[in-house]
């Protein structure tokens, strides 16, 4: 038996009183060893900030395990400037489709007014160049698009912008 799935619809403009959680942007509590801020901005095809997006991330723990003891999940709405921030730790490498290890990464979902489906991307890390080089998912994405998937170093962590459309459009995946 295979049932038809329930289709996706937009999150709409009116969710900021409903979906954000108090600790939503904290994958780990402040003060956790190795914790850093992943910050960025969501912009549209005109380069304007998207102030009504909701980002979610999902990741393994630092040992590369998807484990019930580690929430691994963050949710953060964008602010008036389209910015978000998530406090997390770097995940360990997890197995890929062929058994080889994938480079450390977060899965990211983007919901926003105007989007009828969730957009899915991945956040890799600039300081994992050797692992990124052999990552099976990244390997299929040619430069310069590949660079949109790699978070850059910043003062208190990493920067990862999401460009929904246009020049340097972020790579999004069908899942």
């Amino acid at each position: 038996m295979s049932l038809g799935s329930t289709p996706s619809q937009t999150i709409g403009p009116f969710f900021s009183h409903a979906l954000p959680w108090k600790d939503g942007q904290y994958v780990v509590p402040e003060g956790t060893a190795g914790a850093f801020w992943l910050r960025g901005r969501v912009v549209d095809g005109a380069g304007e900030p998207v102030p009504d997006a909701l980002l979610e991330t999902w990741q393994a723990d630092p040992d590369g395990r998807y484990d019930a003891d580690f929430r691994g999940f963050a949710r953060c709405p964008t602010d008036d400037d389209g910015q978000y921030a998530i406090l997390t730790v770097k995940p360990g490498p997890v197995p890929g489709p062929d058994g080889r290890l994938q480079a450390p990464h977060l899965a990211m979902s983007v919901f926003a007014r105007g989007l009828l489906v969730r957009l899915v991307t991945r956040v890799y890390f600039a300081d994992e160049a050797a692992a990124n080089e052999v990552d099976p998912v990244l390997a299929d994405i040619p430069e310069p698009a590949r660079a949109t998937l790699v978070a850059r170093h910043a003062q208190d962590g990493y920067t990862f912008d999401v460009r929904l459309q246009g020049e340097n459009e972020t790579v999004f995946f069908a899942v």
Binding site: G4, T10, Y66, S109, L116
Partner: protein, 219 residues
């Protein structure tokens, strides 16, 4: 099955839809696992949107219930469902919503619950009103309740809208009609359910949710 990424009938989509085709890769453990959320997020009365304030909200009290299953029909148990909706006059308590309909001091319109062992869930709320928006001339959204679901895997994650049977606004709504397959569109419409309707108290609507694409739809 899902709406297309680019759907310009919905004006807000035009500058936000990516232009490049979505990239594909075989699902890995990242996609086949997902967060287990809920215990700390759900209060005992969060399922009842009519009991969050000192008084009862105005409007037609309704029960919304159903089952959450995966594409093979297996119940998805202990998974978080979040809902949010306009009040019976069609107004959200959100600073952006300024259309001339009254707020209800007894209705926030936000609920949460976890599914039971058989994937079932139940909310008590009031029937939301239709409301105008500026997408096109004389545009009105059909009455709907927003649903957010997690299921068991990152691939299950879904945000959708539950509609009410026979809504006269369906034909002119670009969001509802962004789902091109009529059978898939019908899966977003709840069914009136006399068997769960509580005499002298509330009408019931049944809304079952199927999470996850079937392999055939992946092609």
């Amino acid at each position: 099955m899902d709406p297309p990424v680019y759907w310009p009938d919905y004006k807000s989509n035009v500058l936000r839809a990516p232009k490049r085709a979505l990239a594909t890769f075989p699902s890995t453990s990242t996609e086949l696992t997902g967060p287990l959320l809920g215990d700390s997020l759900v209060g005992p009365l969060d399922y009842d949107l009519t009991r969050q304030h000192a008084g009862e909200p105005l409007g037609e009290r309704i029960i919304v219930h159903g089952k959450v299953v995966d594409a093979s029909g297996r119940p998805l148990r202990n998974t978080l469902i979040e809902v949010w909706q306009a009040n019976s006059a069609g107004r959200y308590p959100h600073h952006i919503d300024q259309h001339p309909a009254p707020l209800d001091p007894n209705f926030t319109g936000v609920g949460r619950c976890l599914t039971g062992d058989d994937g079932s869930y139940r909310f008590v709320t009031v029937r939301p009103g239709a409301y105008p928006w500026r997408n096109h001339d004389n545009a009105w959204r059909p009455a709907h309740i927003h649903f957010s679901l997690f299921g068991r895997a990152f691939t299950h994650r879904l945000i959708t809208q539950m509609y009410f049977p026979g809504d006269p606004l369906f034909d002119q709504d670009p969001i509802f009609n962004s789902v091109r397959d009529p059978a898939a569109r019908a899966r977003m419409v709840s069914a009136f359910d006399l068997s769960e309707t509580v005499p002298e108290w509330a009408l019931a609507f049944r809304y079952d949710v199927v999470l996850g694409q079937t392999p055939m739809e992946d092609t």
